[in-house]
Every structure is written in C-alpha cells, then in structure tokens.
C-alpha cells in the first residue's frame, strides 16, 4: 500500500501494476507446484488401481453392497493350486448341512455361482461362474475358516471403473483395499 501511495501514478497504472504482479505470482505458484509435484509422480510405481490385500480381508460382505456398480466389481477368485479339492468343502457347503447334495439349502453360494466337477476319488474341482458371483464373500469365509483359503475375493480389473477413491475401501473394516501400481495389477493367490 505504501509503495502505491508513493508512486504518483494514476489508479489505472496502479491496477495494471497489480495485475502484472498477480500474473507473476500465479506463474511462480504454478512453477513451484509443478517442481514440488514432479518428484512425487512416477509413472511406473504410481498408485492407480484398487486391489484387495487378502492377508487383511475378513470377508465381511461389504464388497457386495458398497461398490458404486450395481453388481460389485469384486468377485470370488479360486486358486486351484491352493485348493485341497475336498469333497466336504467349507466354501461349497454350508456348515452343519444334513445331506451332502447340491440342493440349494445346502450350498453356501446364494446365487449358485460355484460349480464342481468330479476329478477322481476323493477329489473335486471347483470353479466360479463370474457372471453369477456377487462378491458377497460367503464362500471365501467358509473356505478360509475350514479349508485352505483358496476361495478369496478380489477386484476384477475389467469390471472396476477405477474410482479416484474406492467406495468400498472407505468402508472396509480391515483396511484391505489398497491402491496398487500397474505392475501388481492383480494380487493373486497361488
């Protein structure tokens, strides 16, 4: 203010000077912000995608309901190399079922997305029909509690819309949903 009063220029000139000063400040701010941000930005390691860290996942079931998509982008994955190929599967059958048959009341999956195929006595191969899976995690919970944990939840990259902040992550009780780089696009078991 004092400087302006000293210079005996017209208000128009003063305004011009202030505008120029503002331009310089704005330009400087951009350069400073750019300079500060460039070292933080790395193309290769950048955290951009969302994946479930299955060490932390508790299969709570919020993935099914909290995704922004109507049918969640979280699906059940099956790691064959971890699976025990059991007949009495904790992910396939509900606990304490009377008969081991494929009647709906005996099965864990509410949508019938898990199918199994007889391999050889006493082994069965399990598979997930992704189009039916809602990502509720009931089978993953059963498999994790009674079996090897070969059924687990993961975010399907081709379905996920890559929200800037994953809505499930903000509600995940185990803090299991984390940003990963392109290199770890899928965190798979087995």
């Amino acid at each position: 203010m004092e400087k302006e009063n000293k210079s005996k220029k017209s208000p128009q000139d003063r305004r011009e000077f202030l505008k120029k000063a503002g331009t310089v400040v704005a330009g400087g701010t951009i350069l400073a912000a750019f300079g500060a941000l460039i070292p933080k930005a790395k193309a290769e390691k950048a955290d951009y995608f969302w994946q479930i860290d299955w060490n932390k996942c508790t299969n709570c079931g919020r993935c099914e309901t909290d995704c922004v998509l109507t049918v969640s982008a979280v699906k059940c994955f099956h790691a064959n190399r971890v699976c025990g190929y059991c007949d009495l599967c904790g992910g396939y059958y509900r606990s304490n079922v009377k008969d081991l048959n494929t009647a709906a009341e005996n099965l864990t999956c509410p949508t019938g997305a898990i199918s199994r195929k007889f391999v050889e006595d006493p082994y069965f191969e399990y598979a997930i029909d992704e189009s039916l899976c809602t990502g509720c995690g009931k089978c993953a919970k059963g498999c994790g509690s009674f079996g090897n944990g070969s059924l687990y939840l993961q975010i399907k990259r081709d379905l996920c819309v890559n929200c800037n902040q994953c809505k499930i992550a903000t509600n995940c009780p185990g803090d299991a949903i984390q940003r990963v780089s392109n290199k770890n696009a899928y965190e798979l078991k087995g």
């Binding site: 505008k19 503002g22 331009t23 400040v25 704005a26 951009i30 912000a33 750019f34 941000l37 460039i38 933080k40 930005a41 790395k42 193309a43 390691k45 950048a46 955290d47 951009y48 299955w54 060490n55 508790t58 079931g61 919020r62 922004v68 998509l69 099956h78 064959n80 190399r81 971890v82 025990g84 059991c86 391999v119 050889e120 082994y123 191969e125 598979a127 009674f146 090897n148 944990g149 070969s150 990259r157 081709d158 819309v161 890559n162 929200c163 800037n164 902040q165 809505k167 903000t170 009780p173 185990g174 803090d175 940003r179 780089s181 392109n182 696009a185 899928y186 798979l188 078991k189 087995g190």
Partner: protein
C-alpha cells in the same frame, strides 16, 4: 521375521503367509492338470495417454476458438466429444476436480505415489487458465460441458444470491483439502453429482441431486460450476491474472447489452458510472473497517473450526473405530459389528489404534484451524469485493467468472459481418 516366513512359505508352495494349509495338496493319479486361469487386463495405460493427449488437444481447440476464431461452434464440438469420451466412455474418473485431493494426499502421505496422469489432469488446466483463461471449464470438463449443452434459458440470479452462493466453492475446496490432508475421505469424489449420470446408475440420492442440478442448469447457467465446483474456484485465481484475455469484440462496443444478456454465468460486466452517493471519506472508512474486520473474521473462523475439529474428525475411519473399540472395552457386548470383528480378528492392538487416533486428532486440529482461517478470509474478501466499485466505460468480460463458453461472440452485432453488411446496404438504399 514375517518377511522370512513369507519367503520360506513362498519357496515351498507359493502359498500365502496367512492362509492355513489345512489340507495337503492332492496327489492326482488320473493325470489331472490344473486349469490355467487368466484374468483380463484392460489396456489402462494406453487410455491414460489418450486422456492426456485429448485433454491438451481439446483445451487448445477452445483456446483457439476463444482467442482467434471467436466463435462458439468449435466449443460445442469439444463439449460433445468431452461428454462422450471423458464422461460416458471413461466414466468421469480421474477428473481434474477430484485430482486436487490426490495432489494434497501426495504432499502429506509419502507412501502415496501420484500417477502422472493425475498430475497432468491437475496442472494442465491450471497452466491453460494462466495463459488463456478458464478454457478447461468451457467444454473439456465433462461436467461443465453437460450443463452447458442443456442450458436454454438464463434466469439471472440477483447479485446477493450469487455472491453468497459463490462462497460455497471455496468452503468446499477447503473441506476437500482438509479431509484429503487427514487421509480420511475424498469428499469431492464422494459427493460428485454427475458421476451417477455418466455411469448410468448409482446411489439414488446422488443421481437425484445430479438430475436436479441438471434441471437447474436448463434455466440458469452452470449452477455446479458457479456455486459448487472447487476446481473452478482454483482456476478462477489463475484466470483472473491470465496472460491473454479474450475480448467481447475487436471492434468498437456499441453498448447494446446483448452480450450481457447472453452470458449464462453472469461474467459480462456492464458499463458502470460509479456515481456513489456516499462521500469518499465515508467509503474509505468503511473499507478500513472491513480491513480491520478481516483478521477478526479469520481468527473467529479458525477458532470455530478448531473447536469443532473433534466432531469433524469422526469422518476418519480410525477415529470412528477407536470410539467403537472404547465403547466395546467399557461395556463388552456379545455380538460385535463387522468393524469390531475385523479389529479383534486381525489382532490389532488398542495401543496402536490409540496412537493412530491421537495422530489424527492432532492433524484434524491443525488443518481445521487453517481451514477455518481460510473460510474467514474468503468471507472477508467477498465483503471487501462488494464495496470495491470501479468505473467502467464498456462491457467487459470478468476473467474470474468467464468459463469461455463463447456465447457472447455470436450475440455481439459488431462481430457479425452479415449484420454489418446488411446495415451498410440498408444505409445505402436509404441515401
């Protein structure tokens, strides 16, 4: 130790450290082979390059249309491309508006690595605003483009209403930064009104809010851009002092008021004679009063926000969890909710959670104080701005509010060669 365990277990079975191998690996005799499971990887990185290239190209087109061509038509095309590509095809993520929060997070969280595309989306529109004004808002931003395309009628809001509502983006920006800096929530992304429209579905409340905003945009220009968008507020800082500014007409202004009427965001300032009734000394005194009041407003805002930082901090997940755990410890319940189940199930300790809780409380206290002071400053500056009256001889574009939609150019009769030609013919036939 954990690492060692992990390497050992992965050496043998490529198993996880956590998963329990309750059943041994089956030894098949029938020659069974494990099925090979492949999961499709979309070519995300390719699209990111396309995003950035398109961002630069579209902004350049708008800048050219504003500065050289002085025509709205290219801007309409840019809007359509942006709605189709950035909106419906890319589903509106990552956008420049949300990128503010990523940038803030990158500053406070050293473990977060900022993607280059997010940096580009944050900085490029600002650089363009610094050179050419808010060309990003014009039609490159899918939200602005959508509101602009549907706009048919402009009911002008009174100055009082638009001034008060105009403060909201700054408050929104401040809170967006507050919650990002405390690693709590990206509120700007969470309360995004148009994302439901671009994703063709979403939470009922947000889709309704988006539809209502869009309906409002039919009758008054860009309500979201003017009264909500935090990135627009940020850009207005730079466009205010931009190097090149577009002018309404290169010829002489005939003060016809048509451009003023055409502007959907009230960014054309009419000539103003500045015949204030109050005496100069009175005005100076009032200004002095405001300048004295400004620090008071800042301090009041800072104190108010600091006092309420405790309740604001409950947005954070760890703070919420800590409250739940404390309630549980004080009065143990049989049935745990999912959060508590996960907390005890993962074997996290109350002491570690308490440390995180206290860290967040301190963070919230600091950032809330800054945000409160900032809000006080914004309100004070808005008041001062209302009292500053300047004489204007001609119609002028207000560079802070102008979103470069280019409507005014075609409304100006001086820009329209056809009208000028007809007028000349008219004069000739009369003489």
């Amino acid at each position: 130790m954990k690492k060692l365990l992990f390497t050992i277990s992965s050496l043998f079975f490529t198993l996880t450290a956590m998963a329990v191998q309750r059943f041994p690996k089956p030894e098949f005799e029938s020659g069974y082979k494990y099925p090979d499971l492949h999961y499709a990887l979309p070519h995300e990185m390719v699209w990111e390059v396309v995003d950035i290239v398109l961002l630069v190209v579209l902004m350049s087109v708008v800048a050219w249309a504003m500065m050289k061509k002085r025509n709205r038509k290219p801007i309409v095309w840019v809007s359509i491309i942006s709605i189709a590509y950035f909106g419906f095809f890319r589903k509106g993520c990552v956008c420049s508006i949300g990128s503010i929060q990523n940038v803030v997070l990158a500053f406070v969280d050293p473990t977060y690595v900022l993607p280059l595309s997010v940096l580009a989306f944050f900085i490029l529109p600002i650089i363009f605003a610094f050179f050419f004004g808010r060309v990003f808002c014009a039609g490159v931003c899918p939200f602005g483009a959508l509101q602009d395309i549907v706009n048919v009628k402009n009911y002008r809001l009174s100055k009082a209403v638009s001034t008060v509502l105009g403060i909201i983006p700054w408050i929104y920006l401040a809170f967006g930064i507050l919650f990002a800096a405390t690693k709590s929530l990206f509120i700007i992304c969470r309360f995004d009104p148009f994302i439901g429209i671009y994703r063709l579905g979403g939470a009922v409340g947000f889709v309704t809010a988006g539809a209502l905003l869009l309906l409002a945009a039919v009758f008054t220009g860009r309500p979201f851009c003017r009264f909500l968008c935090p990135y627009g507020a940020l850009l207005s800082l730079f466009s205010r002092v931009s190097i090149w500014k577009s002018r309404l007409t290169t010829k002489e202004c005939i003060s016809c008021d048509l451009c003023h009427n055409s502007c959907p965001v009230d960014a054309v300032r009419p000539p103003y004679n500045n015949e204030v009734k109050e005496s100069r000394s009175q005005g100076v005194r009032r200004m002095l009063g405001y300048f004295v009041g400004l620090p008071i407003l800042i301090i009041a805002g800072a104190l108010l926000m600091r006092m309420s930082s405790g309740s604001i901090s409950r947005v954070n997940k760890d703070v919420k969890l800590y409250d739940m755990v404390m309630a549980q410890e004080a009065n143990p319940q049989e049935n745990l909710n999912l959060d508590l189940e996960a907390f005890y199930g993962q074997g996290r300790t109350v002491a570690a959670l308490k440390a995180s809780y206290e860290k967040h409380q301190a963070d919230f206290k600091l950032y809330s104080t800054i945000v409160g002071g900032f809000i006080g400053l914004v309100i004070g500056l808005a008041l001062i701005n209302l009292s500053v009256r300047r004489k204007r001889l001609h119609y002028e574009i207000d560079p802070a509010n102008c979103v470069s939609c280019g409507r005014c150019f075609s409304y100006c009769p001086q820009n329209n060669d056809k009208i000028i030609l007809e007028n000349k013919n008219h004069e000739k036939s009369h003489s």
